[in-house]
Symmetry: D2
Subunit: 185 residues, 4 copies
């Protein structure tokens, strides 16, 4: 059986960001039933309805095409100013439009938020969830994933410490179960 394609959106645009490392670890830990692929969001022009012409910006088109092929979506994101980064919100706005063409609708979703501090990106995590209601993304509720002190979870070799790797593995197993559970009959 072919694995299901899961789009991974990485909320930090910084090279070698913690979110990018988490995304890679999730891909490694994913069961064989899921194939994770990062979909680029950093080159998307800010959403502006006036650009929604016959020829919208090429990155918008590329992003929308890639998302249409995905059978699920995972957001890996830091918190900026107690909410999701603009890059994440922009991906939601671009993917939700034009009216009636929401590329996220009906897909299972999951969120991993992180922060160097204690709060684990809670504000980003839940603001994102509020948008997912409107976008009709079906969120995995448990386990939640808030990686606090993310800078201290990496070993000298640049990989996550065993406890974190194990948690991310369990997270992916649970997501695989969730994807199967909500797959339309």
């Amino acid at each position: 059986m072919n694995p299901k394609h899961i789009a991974v959106l990485v909320g930090s645009l910084r090279e070698n960001s913690f979110s990018q490392k988490i995304a890679h670890a999730l891909a490694e830990q994913a069961p064989a039933s899921l194939q994770l692929d990062v979909v680029e969001i950093g080159d998307l022009p800010l959403y502006n309805p006036d650009l929604e012409t016959d020829a919208p910006p090429a990155p918008w088109q590329r992003f929308r095409e890639q998302m249409k092929l995905a059978q699920g979506v995972i957001f890996v994101t830091p918190e900026y100013n107690r909410s999701m980064p603009a890059a994440v919100k922009n991906a939601l706005d671009v993917g939700s439009r034009p009216y009636g063409k929401n590329v996220f609708g009906g897909k299972p979703g999951a969120i991993v938020s992180s922060s160097p501090g204690a709060i684990g990106g809670f504000g980003a995590n839940h603001h994102l969830r509020q948008s997912l209601v409107f976008l009709d993304v079906l969120p995995m509720q448990q386990p939640e994933a808030y990686l606090s002190g993310v800078d201290k979870l990496l070993a000298a070799d640049g990989r996550f410490v065993p406890a974190t790797a194990e948690f991310l593995g369990k997270f992916m197993t649970a997501f695989s179960t969730w994807v199967d559970r909500v797959a339309r009959g």
Copy 2:
């Protein structure tokens, strides 16, 4: 006495958006103690810490300089996907950085959200408020401004109907009082 300079950030990038019209109406209705000026946010590249070099993007620098001069800030915004538009979040992210150089800190703020539907941009309004906590913007709490059915509040001449204009006038008077109240002694 010189009027205080208040920056107005318009959340929709569309030409002639409802938010733009509201911004203009607020400027007209403002008491003489306040001078409202729209500060452009549509040209700001998506926030990316890697661009925070000795020469950050010119629009970031322009935006930060303009905001530093402002003595208050008003956000006029639609709701996209139950939250604030990416353009608004991006302005917050750009203005909050680099670390220690938050251009919003300590300034009085206010929010006017709107939507063609019934909800009046509630989701945008309150997600924005959550970010303002971290940014140390001092928000006017009352009156709240949710303009529901905004497309029906404009008369044939393109101006807001009297009830809405009057509400926006009262909102600006209250904001002027708030600005005075929290001005550092």
Copy 3:
């Protein structure tokens, strides 16, 4: 086939509240696959961990037993002070405890919020959703239900006007589909 039992929690404790009327209309409009029953929450003492003894308050025990039997849960609620009423939050707190005995976990859920004003209980609706993440309630995302101007949606005979009744019927049909979709195999 037996209908599934769906618990309905009514967020207003007022006699003949709008929420109560909505709950009744939902029960009437529900497809034969679902049996809706209001579960009382108004008599639950405020959650206090010190009362979690061998003999917790009788209403807590009654509520927990009733919820355990339910195969889904619908919240019908007004908004108080831009959030859910204390009565609703208390039902969540009581049902979530003691640790490991969450009565809501894994059940499909839906929310109908309402207000006499324009906002349709948006603040209550989404605060409730944030709690449902932790409680592992599986929320129907679409359609959302915000009944604005609820006092004007009732006809002289005390029943909802046809457009509202029809919307509530579609909402229940969608919920029935959602319940089937997430039922464990």
Copy 4:
């Protein structure tokens, strides 16, 4: 000069709760300009508009009278199910009513949230802030106070470790400044 009376609402009803201990530490650390007094909220019947007669429940009357005398309010609260405890929400609901008699309006406010886990009560903290908008409480924005791992912040003598005590002292000093700043001229 007489100190200003600040009402402290404690979100956990448990004896010797962490929130209670934090409240006591805040009172100890407060500058002489502020007098902190805990106002009981655990005995307030759940808000029900039908009880809003000529003789509302005695605890409601007692609470409302006490709050009217306060010149500011501090909420010290754990997080229950990713939001504020029902006891806190109930105090807001009771104090906001009847219509036009909101006892919180115009008062400066502050929030200290805590949790044994990492998240520091973020969900409770910000849901509470959303209600404060409607209630016209003027919130101190910075510093925010999220006490993560609160069970590990207490020394053997039952008092907070020096770093936490010092933080709470700075918090109270900042609040005193905020109270002065927003005091009506």
